[in-house]
């Protein structure tokens, strides 16, 4: 019963009927309940004809009016009624808060803005039966979402408390796919692994999983900083999702780049320092450069920001040589102009650092330094390859002294031993001359001012 006998009695008391007989209260309670139902079902008709799915106060008032009953004034608002809860000893009571309004304050308030006028917009819901993918129509993903709701619901129905891996959008199939792929990636069998990677790089229907793969890469890199094999796999996954032509990867770039940078410049990426972490760094650098090329158009600051990060690593003498290596490789891959502007001017200073490291009596350090040297040499080679139109310089001592001026003693030696030495020297000297000229130009300008 909605109204207990007690409340009927209370109401009777309040209107001045002190002692109500038991039979009457029961009958009243029953009748009141029935009348309420009657009014509500009448009001439902008004709701239905207004094509709404929520009953409003105005519906109730319309129903009362139809029944020739005075409507209840003072509750009709456009806003939905909010019920507040009050807990009592026996049961919770819900009530509508009746705010006190200060009339003076109300009068002083500025007038509320005029409500927006009803307007219409037109769009194609279907063109010859096909729903166009425009902003006004729901995305097909929404449909998948609707479909995927079902199995989750049925699980709950069975009483099995499964909290699905992904709370909202992922269908059961995709969840299974994701699990399967991540398991295969950990398998020692290279065939299984490569098949999984291939699947990621080809499959068309896994767009919803991109964010999970990005997440997977980030977590894997973070947790396995010292296991080279796992890191390599993570990089392979990153490459695979980038290569998949069906995936729209752009929004996830900012999440992916930190992982790649970690693999590029991290201090230690393997258990024992003798492992070949260099190739991992090379791969990461390659990926970063690809990303910069691909999205440089839409994100102008992307390359600049990455370059700045790498340069900072390159120029910080407190950082280990492994980090320096990564930075050099990364900068090299970013393009010739970066080499010209950021690498070459700093080479001499860096080489002095490297020379001092070389002199230290530690096999590991010397090895690392050699890698750094090679990286620098490689960057010079890239420079040379770019400016191939130049006449190869003669390897004379004049040239050499000029070169030493730019890149330092030890690197100059290496360059001279290199079989592309002539081209490198020419390219470096051109750059040096250009920069000098521009400097002079600037100085000249300053002087004339």
């Amino acid at each position: 019963m909605i109204y207990s006998k007690g409340s009927i009695k209370n109401i009777a008391d309040s209107v001045g009927i002190p002692k109500l007989k038991d039979g009457i209260t029961t009958a009243m309670a029953q009748d009141v309940e029935y009348r309420l139902h009657e009014i509500i079902s009448e009001a439902t008709k008004f709701m239905k004809h207004s094509k709404r799915t929520k009953l409003t106060v105005s519906d109730i008032n319309s129903a009362l009016r139809v029944r020739n009953i005075e409507p209840i004034y003072g509750f009709e608002t456009g806003r939905p009624v909010k019920f507040h809860k009050a807990s009592t000893a026996l049961e919770d009571i819900y009530y509508v808060e009746d705010e006190q309004i200060d009339l003076d304050a109300l009068l002083e308030e500025p007038l509320p803005s005029v409500p927006l006028d009803v307007v219409y917009t037109a769009h194609w819901l279907a063109i010859e039966g096909v729903q166009p993918r425009i902003q006004q129509n729901p995305l097909p993903i929404d449909e998948e979402e609707l479909v995927s709701k079902k199995p989750v619901k049925s699980q709950r129905q069975e009483g099995v408390e499964t909290i699905p891996l992904v709370k909202h959008v992922l269908s059961r199939e995709l969840q299974l796919y994701f699990e399967c792929i991540t398991e295969s990636l950990q398998s020692p069998d290279p065939i299984v692994k490569s098949t999984a990677l291939e699947s990621i790089s080809i499959d068309a229907g896994i767009h919803q999983l991109v964010t999970y793969f990005v997440q997977y890469i980030a977590v894997t890199v973070k947790n396995n900083l010292h296991s080279l094999e796992v890191l390599k796999t993570a990089m392979a996954v990153a490459r695979a999702i980038r290569r998949n032509p069906n995936l729209f990867i752009e929004p996830y770039m900012h999440q992916l780049i930190p992982s790649l940078l970690t693999c590029l410049v991290s201090k230690r990426l393997c258990e024992s320092p003798t492992e070949d972490h260099w190739s991992l760094r090379d791969g990461a650098a390659q990926q970063i450069s690809e990303i910069c090329q691909q999205f440089g158009q839409s994100y102008h600051t992307l390359q600049a920001r990455i370059a700045r990060t790498l340069l900072r690593a390159f120029l910080d003498p407190t950082k280990p040589l492994t980090t320096h290596y990564g930075a050099i490789v990364g900068l090299t891959k970013l393009g010739v102009s970066i080499i010209r502007v950021l690498v070459l001017p700093n080479t001499k200073a860096y080489m002095t650092l490297l020379d001092s490291e070389m002199e230290k009596d530690c096999e590991q350090l010397r090895d690392d330094a050699r890698h750094c040297q090679n990286a620098l040499l490689e960057s010079l080679r890239a420079l040379a390859r770019d400016s191939s139109g130049l006449n190869p310089a003669n390897l004379t001592s004049v040239e050499k002294s000029k070169l030493v001026e730019v890149v330092g003693e030890s690197l100059a030696n290496l360059v001279f031993k290199d079989k592309e030495g002539c081209e490198i020297v020419a390219a470096v000297l051109v750059v040096g001359r250009e920069s000098r000229e521009s400097r002079e130009l600037k100085d000249g300008q300053r002087n004339s001012d």
């Binding site: 309940e33 207004s50 094509k51 456009g78 409500p115 010859e128 039966g129 729901p138 069975e158």
Partner: protein, 789 residues
């Protein structure tokens, strides 16, 4: 199959309770032995005498309470009941098992004693339980028809209990057995459950329907005889009486299809069987309206003059083409049109009809053929900032105007061509106006492309625009309909006649006439030039929710909350067809442009397609998950579009070949579909039953029937129902919390929808319920709905 988990039929009272019942019935039997000694079982003479005394006491008490002093005195003397001053409390003690409840009065007791059946308050419950048990154990072939027949028996038993003031018994009865019928009659049952006293039964709309009308049921001859003999053999006189008084059983040969709900004579129609047969065998003329001879000649003359122009340009070429089309149309029209005598009188044609006819011809030539393989383009008009206040919307046939009716009592119209809507200045001098061009000079200077029409004093529930986009008609909660001119944007006429809110209004295809549907259970026909209704279509048992004209204007179709659709003859004002089969109120109807087929839909989320000629249901289409607001046929009538509260527009295949609804292939397909649906429902119910059974105390494995695992198609429904029911019963035995859970499960189940195979395509909108959908003459679909953020 879950036979292992199925439980015994509900034994609603425990053992102690049963012994009480035995005792009470014994007492009852012996006391009433004068009238029905045959039913009396062995009872000792002594106890007989004792109980005789009790009866006399009761009678005495009754007479006393009623104030029949003489009779009381006479009884006292005759029966030698000296000094017996019994009180009500004594009386209650005198009868073992105070089933009556404390608030049952003595007259109730007397009432029961006068029953042919030696009734006790549990008589209904007991008999109904036995009936259910019997139905369940009967042959699969008859099960579903017996179940169908058990629903009205259930309803009347409940109301009888209430009518006798046994509210608690009635509630108990409802709680126990409502699970049987929730699948098909959940709406009714929720209404029944609100009834609490005898007076409610007398005044409730639905209860009155059940009490005053007979409930139609279809049964096979054998099934009917089985039922009768069961009731007779077991002396279920109460039920027998219900069957006799309130059921209208029609015996049919052969088998009754499982979905017999869709037949015209099932449920309450307000008519006896014979009347219905008469209705649906009345001849109706579905041909198209003939083209007026004046219009025909004028159209031909216009086209010929254009075609015969000297300069052969695009216009004349088009006119030649149109002329050809027109001759085709004329032929078709002549072949199946009505004679001029049969059509409703129309005012003499003005120029506008000729233009309209030519426009139609052009549209016909440009029409895109639609069908299951060629779906239409849909243009969606989304309304913004309505804040739930838009009740209805409509686009004019020529797609120039969009009109919406609002809760704030106004109608708003927009020009879809974004042209300014200019009325006339209120003060102007008529003198300088001599030519047509002069009229334009006195138009308002506004440049706004939308206008509000204000005059109603309540929410506007329906709008319609005439075929020539010159007039708009609106109806409102203020009990009136209003005619507006779309030239001056002013109110022309206010039509008063309905006594209650008017739900819907619709113009006739040729204009001039319009029809309204109202809360007062009538639909009315009006002509624009009369302020009173020309015809009142009365016969619906509840609100009339929607009204549409037949394309030849000779008939009107109405849909109602009484779950039926009716076809009315405009001239005679009488009902010529009744279509029943919906399980919820009917909110929208549509008729195919050729006038042969009608579709109806509403709250029950299904679309029914009817053949108007035979009155048969051609197809039942399910798939929507919200109530359906609007329907529209393509111009060929092969495709049906529906717009719904579930924010979708769906296209349905109207299978024209299936005009004979009892065609074996159709029936077979339907059965298969049904089977599929049932199989799903069954699996679900079983899972539920299993869940219920695991913690139920009264699992009875003896009920296992191995044969049932191979149940036939017809029986599978019954089986699934049974397992559902047993699940429900377990719920009750485990207390209220369990039954609540089951209710929730029931709601969830009712939300699951099996998509029927005639569903061709679903288009989703972005949180926009589709209020209205229509088809233009060129087969472009237009949908309107408010965006609800």
């Amino acid at each position: 199959m879950s036979s292992g988990k199925r439980t015994e039929w509900p034994d609603d009272s425990g053992n102690a309770d049963r012994s009480k019942q035995n005792a009470s019935s014994q007492a009852a039997n012996s006391s009433g032995s004068a009238t029905a000694s045959a039913t009396g079982t062995a009872a000792g003479a002594a106890s007989k005498q004792a109980s005789q005394k009790k009866v006399e006491k009761i009678v005495l008490q009754y007479l006393k309470s009623k104030g029949y002093k003489d009779a009381e005195k006479a009884l006292r003397e005759n029966a030698n009941l000296d000094g017996l001053e019994t009180t009500l409390a004594d009386l209650a003690n005198a009868f073992p098992g105070n089933e009556v409840g404390s608030d049952a009065s003595v007259p109730n007791w007397i009432l029961f004693y006068n029953e042919a059946e030696q009734g006790n308050p549990d008589a209904y419950s007991q008999s109904y339980r036995e009936l259910r048990r019997w139905i369940d154990s009967s042959l699969d072939v008859y099960k579903h028809e017996l179940y169908a027949a058990s629903y009205p028996i259930f309803a009347h038993s409940y109301m009888d209990l209430l009518a006798r003031g046994l509210t608690e018994k009635a509630e108990e009865f409802m709680e126990l057995y409502k699970g049987d019928h929730l699948v098909n009659h959940s709406k009714d049952i929720s209404v029944f459950a609100t009834l609490k006293t005898a007076s409610h039964v007398e005044e409730n709309e639905l209860a009155k329907l059940f009490r005053e009308n007979k409930y139609g049921v279809r049964m096979t001859r054998v099934g009917f005889e089985l039922l009768l003999s069961f009731l007779q053999d077991h002396n279920h006189t109460l039920l027998m009486r219900t069957v006799n008084e309130h059921l209208n059983i029609r015996t049919v040969d052969g088998t009754v299809p499982v979905s017999s709900e869709a037949e015209a004579d099932v449920g309450i129609t307000g008519h006896t069987q014979n009347q219905l047969d008469d209705f649906n065998s009345q001849e109706i003329m579905l041909g198209s309206a003939p083209i007026d001879s004046f219009v025909r000649e004028e159209v031909e003359r216009t086209l010929q003059s254009e075609a015969g122009r000297r300069i052969k340009d695009a216009v004349s070429k088009e006119a030649t083409g149109l002329l050809e089309t027109f001759s085709k149309v004329k032929q078709e029209n002549a072949a199946n049109s009505l004679s001029a005598r049969d059509i409703i009188p129309m005012p003499p044609p003005r120029g506008i009809e000729i233009e309209h006819q030519i426009a139609n011809l052009k549209a016909l030539r440009k029409r895109i053929a639609l069908g299951p393989a060629a779906l239409p383009s849909i243009c969606m008009y989304t309304m913004h900032n309505t804040s739930n206040s838009m009740n209805c919307a409509r686009v004019s046939d020529d797609l120039s105007l969009l009109a919406g009716g609002f809760s704030e009592s106004y109608v708003k119209i927009w020009s879809l061509k974004r042209e300014p809507l200019r009325g006339f200045q209120s003060n102007f001098h008529p003198a300088p106006i001599n030519k047509e061009e002069d009229i334009e000079t006195i138009r308002e200077k506004t440049s706004s492309d939308h206008r509000k029409l204000i005059a109603h004093s309540g929410p506007v529930f329906g709008v319609d625009i005439s075929f020539d986009s010159k007039y708009l008609i609106s109806c409102s909660e203020d009990k009136t309909a209003r005619l507006w001119s779309l030239d001056t944007f002013t109110n022309l006429v206010c039509y008063k006649g309905h006594n209650y809110p008017v739900w819907d209004v619709s113009f006739a295809p040729q204009g001039f006439y319009f029809a309204t549907a109202s809360h007062d259970r009538t639909a009315r026909l009006w002509s624009c030039d009369h302020i009173y209704a020309l015809r009142i279509f009365a016969g619906h048992l509840s609100d009339v929710n929607c009204v549409r004209f037949h394309p030849n204007s000779k008939y009107v179709v109405t849909g109602s909350s009484d779950k039926s659709v009716r076809l009315w003859d405009v001239q005679r004002g009488s009902c010529v067809r009744v279509f029943t089969g919906h399980t919820g109120s009917v909110d929208t109807v549509a008729i195919s442009p050729d006038g042969r087929i009608m579709a109806s839909a509403g709250e029950d989320q299904t679309v029914n397609v009817w053949d108007l000629g035979s009155g048969r249901c051609m197809d039942t289409m399910t798939g929507h998950t919200g109530s359906i607001y609007s329907l529209a046929f393509s111009q060929e009538g092969t495709l049906l579009l529906s717009g719904s509260a579930d924010e979708t527009v769906r296209a349905w295949d109207v299978k024209r070949s299936s005009t004979a609804s009892d065609h074996p292939i159709i029936a077979q397909r339907r059965e298969e579909r049904q089977k599929r649906a049932e199989a799903e429902a069954e699996a679900e119910a079983e899972a539920e039953a299993a869940a219920g059974a695991s913690d139920a105390m009264d699992v009875d494995a003896k009920e296992d029937k191995p044969g049932e695992s191979s149940a036939t198609a017809a029986g599978s429904k019954a089986v699934s129902e049974k397992s559902k029911r047993s699940a429900g019963v377990n719920g009750i035995s485990n207390g209220i919390s369990e039954s609540k859970k089951r209710d929730a499960a029931g709601i969830w189940k009712s939300k699951r929808v099996v998509e029927s195979d005639s569903l061709l395509k679903t288009w989703r909108t972005k949180s926009t319920p589709v209020h209205s959908i229509m088809m233009t003459k060129r087969n472009l679909a237009v949908a309107i709905g408010p965006f609800i953020p």
